[in-house]
Structure formats: C-alpha cells, structure tokens
Amino acid sequence: MNFENYQTDSYYDELFEIGGRPRTSAAPLIDRIKSMPAGDLTRQQKAAESEFLQMGITFTVYGNKDGTEKIFPFDIIPRIVPNPEWKVIERGLIQRIQALNLFIDDVYHDQLILSDRAVPKEVVASSFGFHEQCVGLNPGKRIWIHITGTDLVRDKDGRYYVLEDNLRCPSGVSYVLENRNVLKRTLPQAFQDMRVKPVDDYPHRLLDTLRYVAPVGADPPKVVVLTPGPYNSAYFEHAFLARQLGAQLVEGRDLAVVDGTVKMRTTKGLERVDVIYRRVDDDFIDPNAFRPDSTLGVPGLMEVYRKGRVTLANALGTGIADDKGIYAYVPHMIKYYLQQDPILPNVPTYVCWEDAQRRHVLDNLDKLVVKAVNQAGGYGMLVGPHSSKAEQERFASMIEANPRDYIAQPTLALSRVPVIVEDHFEGRHVDLRPYILYGREVYVMPGGLTRVALKKGSLVVNSSQGGGSKDTWVLDEPPMPGKKETN
C-alpha cells in the first residue's frame, strides 16, 4: 500500500508535512509500510481485530440484555511522537499534575489559593465536584491523584493543548498495552529501528505507586481493584489490570467494614485490605457518606478512610478539578503553587460567569464550542460551526439562566493521522491520552492512548460515538544518522 494520493488537506498531520513529504521522525515507518506486499497490512489489521475479540478485549454495549461485547475499533498505523516533542509534553504534565495535587489538597484544607483570590472562592464552592465530606482528609503522603489520564489535543498550528484532566477514574490504559502487543508483532522491524520507548512496565509502576501510598504498617500491603461489576463498560480493563497487578478484583459486596478496617470475604474468612484501586466513582463508594441508594460501594468505608486505615486511589474529592469551570484556572494554579509559567497551555477558555467573557460567548455562539462544566464524553455540548440557529438560541438562554454551568472554547482543528480505509489511507482526527502515575515521583507513560475519530470529518473520538484507537510511538531519540532519507 502506498500514500500517493494521501491528502493532509489543511490540517496538521502527525506523519506527513504539508505537501506530502513524511516527517523525518515518521520516515522509517512510512518506508516499511510502502515495502509491505499489497493486502498485508489489511490482513494484519483483520487478524488483530479477531484476536481482540477472541481474547475478550472488549467493552460492554449498554442496554443489551444478551451481554453483547464489542471490540474497541483499532487502526494499525501508529502515531509517532518525536523525542523532543515528547520531552515538552512530559515536563508539562509533571508540572500540571503537581499543581493540581497541591490545589486539591489546599481546597480541602486551608484554601489559601481562594483567600489569595488566585481562584474565585464561589467557583469552588459552587462546584459539583466539591465534596464537603472530604474536607480535612489527609491521604497518605498527601497524594490525591495517583492515576491521571490527561487528554491532549493538537491544533492546526501544531501546538499541544490540555483539553481535560480526568482526575477521577480515567480508563483506556489496557488498550494501550494490548495495542502495543499487536504492533510489536505487526511491525517489529520498524519498531526496533525507530527505538520506540516501552510502555509495558506500566502495571509494575502502578503497583509500586499503590504500595507506596499504603497505610503505615501494612507490609506487604494487600492491594485490590474495586470494580462496579461485569456490566460496567470498562469491566474488561478492571479485570485486565487486576491480572497484571496480581491483585484481587473485587466488587463492593465482597468488602465489608469490620472492626474499623476494610475486609474482604474469602472462603477462609475475612481478610484485611490496605489499598483499593477503585474504579467506582466517589458518589457510589459508600452509601453512608455519599449516595444512599448506591449498591456498588462499601458502607462505612469513608470512616475507615478518614482514619487513614485504608488507601483509596484516586483519593475521594479529586473530581473538583474535573469541573471544566475549575479547569479554566489551572494555569493560575501553576503560577500560584509553583511560581512557574505553564509548559502546556489550556485550550483558551471563556468562563460564562464573568460578564465580559459571557458577552463574548453569546456574541460568538456560531464560532465557539460551548460545554457544560459537569459533563464529559461529548455530551452537553454545542459545536457552534455545526449548529442551527435554534440550538444556539437554546444554549444562549441556558447560559443566561445558569452562567456557572458553562464554559466556551474556540473550535479546534484537531491534528490528523492516516488510517486504513478499505484499500487506501485517509486522514482522521486524533487526540492523545497519556497516563500519569503519582507515587514516589511523577511518572508519565511514554505514549498513551491515541483516540481517533474513524468517521470521516468527525471530531468526536469517544468510543461511544464511532471512535477507535491507535498505538502511540514515542521515540527514544531522533532516527539514527546514516538512515536512508526518504524523498
């Protein structure tokens, strides 16, 4: 297969320069693909897909009583991130995670950033993510956000921007690890020649992180993964990670609070649990402390947690910084806590509770993307350029009625990567979600999940809306000198 008719159009393409010449970093890969016999790549892609289905690397389709599972669509052409570019991302993410962690700790203690007016008090007080129950909590080592999956996007100008922080229970890392397994088998030569940085040590590092924050005296700490159960769309990942960590996968009903500690029910009696990597949201984790109708959680867990006798990862209360209204102030946090300029910028964000900004938003509804602060995954959104007058008017009145609930951002022209479409390649829009672990130090997985909008022209990369994934190759060094130049 070749790239003769491949068009980058007017977008930033991750593998090709404008005019169709491969980027230096991607040249060995493009060479390799061109040299593969016709049909080989599509065959490999099909083989990978059927392997995913066989291995049950699937997500559950909600509302289907036969328990149908689908594979997360996968495209075999990797996305390439050159080393210098990656170094900036890595430093930017470490900086951002440190600032966010300090912010969450501050918000649930002295609230210095609020009294110093670097972030408006009323924006925090009115946030859906602020939990009164979490005030005064002291998670081990003062680490709140052990696992983050930050969404990055790249605009037409080639700059990376942070789109969302995802500080609660980010999912998708299992696809990164499985995609990598497939790619190592499909393109071993290119993989080796290009010196791709490994991601396979993620489970090991995750376990280290979880053990590092275990309650004092737990030696060795008993770590479990808490899942809402097999009907959750990410159940495969929960089971996968538990297997990789060598940890027990538990549901809420397997755990109980007995004598001031968390225990799991086993055939040999009750066994103490020290660290819970929980994939259950705050609201459902303890019916005594949060939603009383939750059947997924463990009654009394919050009390044990407050006393520091069990660790939850991530900590409770981190959702405060997933509020898109709070997101707007992360650059302020970086300056306030670290006295640094942000390395990775936010997408420019207008907050509708500031009068001047709201006026700008209302005047430009046809150009901007409006988002509800408490929603994610492409819901509760107005994409200005693709919207009707009626939709714009509906959003205008909602913004006027509840300005605190909305922010707006310019419509970004997301960067593209080639995907296989039948017998040729076409460009599709992508984002990038690297995973970050905060334990003894902050570790950024070199790579991450590249989500791709498989529908032509679509900007929505979510799996629920026709999105797929790709492997992400972060290169260790620029391609070695002496390699054949492509032209």
């Binding site: 291995m55 036969d66 328990g67 089971a239 397997d254 109980a256 055939t267």
Partner: protein
C-alpha cells in the same frame, strides 16, 4: 479465594451439568416416543416433574405436550432451569471470574452459550434438529468439563466447580429415578414384553447408564437398575459415586482427614455419603424408594445450605437466616 468467586464456580458447575441433564432427558424422550404407543401427556409430563418445575409449567403452559415441554425446558428464558437460562447464567458467572478460570474455559463456555442462544432464537425446529441439538448440548458440556479438568489447576477454584458439578449430577440422577421408577413399575402386563426392556433402557439412558449397567448386570431388572443408579461405586453418574468424588473435593479445601469433619458442610456430606456406603437396595426398597430419594434430595439441599454459610457468605456482619439459604438453593 473470594467467597463470591467460590459461589460462582460452584454454580457454574451446577448450571452446565443441569443443561446437560435436561438435554439428555429430552433426547431420550424424543427417541422413546418413536418406539412406544404412549403419547402426549403421559410421555412429557414426567420431564417437567423431573426438573422440579411442574407447577411453573402448568401455570404458564397448561397440559404438557411435546412442543410446549420442549420450549419450556430448552429455550424458555423465564424458566430459570431451562437449558438456555442455565447456559446464560453459567456464562455470566464465568464473565465475572475471567481472572480465575482459564481462557480455554471461557472460550469454550462462550461458544457453547452462543450455540444455545442461536437455537433459542430459531423456534419451531424439526425433530432432527432437536435431536442434534440435544446431542450437541451433551457433547459441549462434556467438552467444557474436560477443558476445565485439563486447564484449570486442581486447587480451590477447581474443587468448588467440581462440587457443584457432582451435587447437580447426584440430584438429577435421584430425580429421574424417582419419577420414572414408579411410572414403569406398575405395568405388570408389560413385564417380559419388548416395551419393558425399552422403557427401562430409556431410564438408564437418561443417566447415560445403559451400557455400563449391562456390562455389570446383563439383564434388566428393576431392583438392579435402582441399585445401579443409587449405590454403584464406580458408575460416574450414580448418586454414591458423585458423593464420593464431591467429598474428596470438599475435604481438599480444608485438608481434614477421612472420618473427621472441619465444618458443617463436611459433616453433612460425610453423613450422606456414609449412608449410601452402608445401605443395601433391598432395605431401601422395603422402606420405600420414593421416600428414600425424597430424603436424599432434602439432605442434598441441606448440604447446599451448609456450603453457603461456610464458604459463600462467611462471617458476614448479619448472620444469614435459614430462609435466605433455602432461597439460594432454588437458584
């Protein structure tokens, strides 16, 4: 091991075994009809009695007839003991313990389920298809059993699975004998006729016991048939053999020595097994085979209760009442 997973393994063993037994009952019956003048109600009613669902059946379908009984026992999603429901629950259980069972087990059970599901959505199948279906269910159940034995370490997980499989098998052998023995027995006029042989052979075949019985006893004699299904030490579907094997798995969990018990479940199973070891068929029939089988099933249920309190819901803050345990047995 998590109590929930032990429970799931036990029930996976039971559900798959249950589906196999129901398929065998139906398969034998489909065959039998071709050779006997009995028809309609007489032939099909015992099947819903055997699976213990006669009341539910009559409420929803009325008089038992071939098509309705087949629909009810094979494909009815509202009958919790149908082949379809059993496989669906077994698969759901397996899905929650993918990290405990082997991939081979999961893949095999998954395709087994998909085969049954495919048939369930094709109503009105002809006789040939139904017989093939019954044979497939039996073979896929054997395959699942074999895959499990050959790919899952024979540790705690396997023992719970094995106990479930054997308890279900003992229960079904007891039920088929109970229901058929008395239908067959009073037909004095048939004694010595070809019918007699055909009907008793059908009973043995319902427990896959026909060939093994003939090897051991040769001629068909009602008392010997009962003895074979209840007390034979070596036949893998006899009640006694099932309990001998189940007891070994149960003991392996705690390591307690033969003749002793470490918990209520071991005590109950040990008693029930000893009872079979020292029984003789003459005594059982004199005291009433039906009463004996009835009591056996009740004791098997009590064993299930004990497993539940000892292993599946241990030391929970609120002790389970006997009602909760009984309800669980009906699963």
């Amino acid at each position: 091991m998590l109590s929930r997973l032990a429970d799931s393994l036990y029930w996976t063993g039971r559900y798959v075994e249950r589906a196999e037994n129901v398929a065998r009952f139906i398969g034998v019956n489909l065959n039998l009809i071709l050779d006997t003048p009995l028809n309609g109600h007489q032939q099909w009613q015992p099947l819903v009695v055997t699976t213990g669902d006669a009341q539910d059946f009559e409420r929803r379908y009325g008089e038992p007839a071939r098509d309705s009984v087949i629909q009810f026992l094979m494909f009815d999603a509202d009958n919790p003991n149908s082949i379809y429901s059993s496989l669906q629950k077994a698969r759901e259980n397996a899905r929650t313990m993918r990290e405990v069972i082997s991939s081979e087990m999961w893949e095999q059970l998954n395709s087994f389920y998909l085969m049954v599901q495919g048939m369930a959505h094709k109503p009105g199948a002809g006789l040939e298809t139904l017989e093939t279906f019954c044979r497939n269910v039996k073979m896929l159940s054997h395959l699942f059993s074999g895959v499990t034995d050959a790919t899952l370490s024979h540790g705690e997980a396997w023992h719970f699975f094995n106990i479930g499989r054997l308890v279900e098998r003992a229960d079904k052998t007891a039920r088929i004998l109970d229901v058929k023995y008395f239908i067959l027995l009073p037909k004095v006029e048939d004694v010595g006729t070809p019918y007699d042989d055909i009907l008793w052979t059908a009973l043995l075949k319902s427990a896959s016991a026909s060939e093994m019985y003939r090897k051991k006893h040769g001629r068909l004699q009602p008392v010997k048939v009962a003895e074979f299904l209840v007390l034979d030490r070596e036949f893998p579907r006899s009640m006694r053999h099932c309990l001998i094997q189940a007891e070994q798995s149960l003991r392996a969990l705690t390591g307690s020595a033969p003749g002793t018990y470490a918990n209520l479940a071991e005590q109950r199973l040990g008693r029930l097994k000893s009872d079979l070891e020292y029984a003789d068929i003459g005594g059982i029939i004199a005291a009433g085979l039906h009463e004996y089988l009835d009591a056996f099933e009740a004791k098997l249920n009590a064993l299930g209760d004990a497993l539940f309190t000892v292993y599946f819901l241990p030391q929970a803050p609120a002790a389970p009442g006997p009602d909760l345990a009984m309800e669980r047995m009906d699963q």
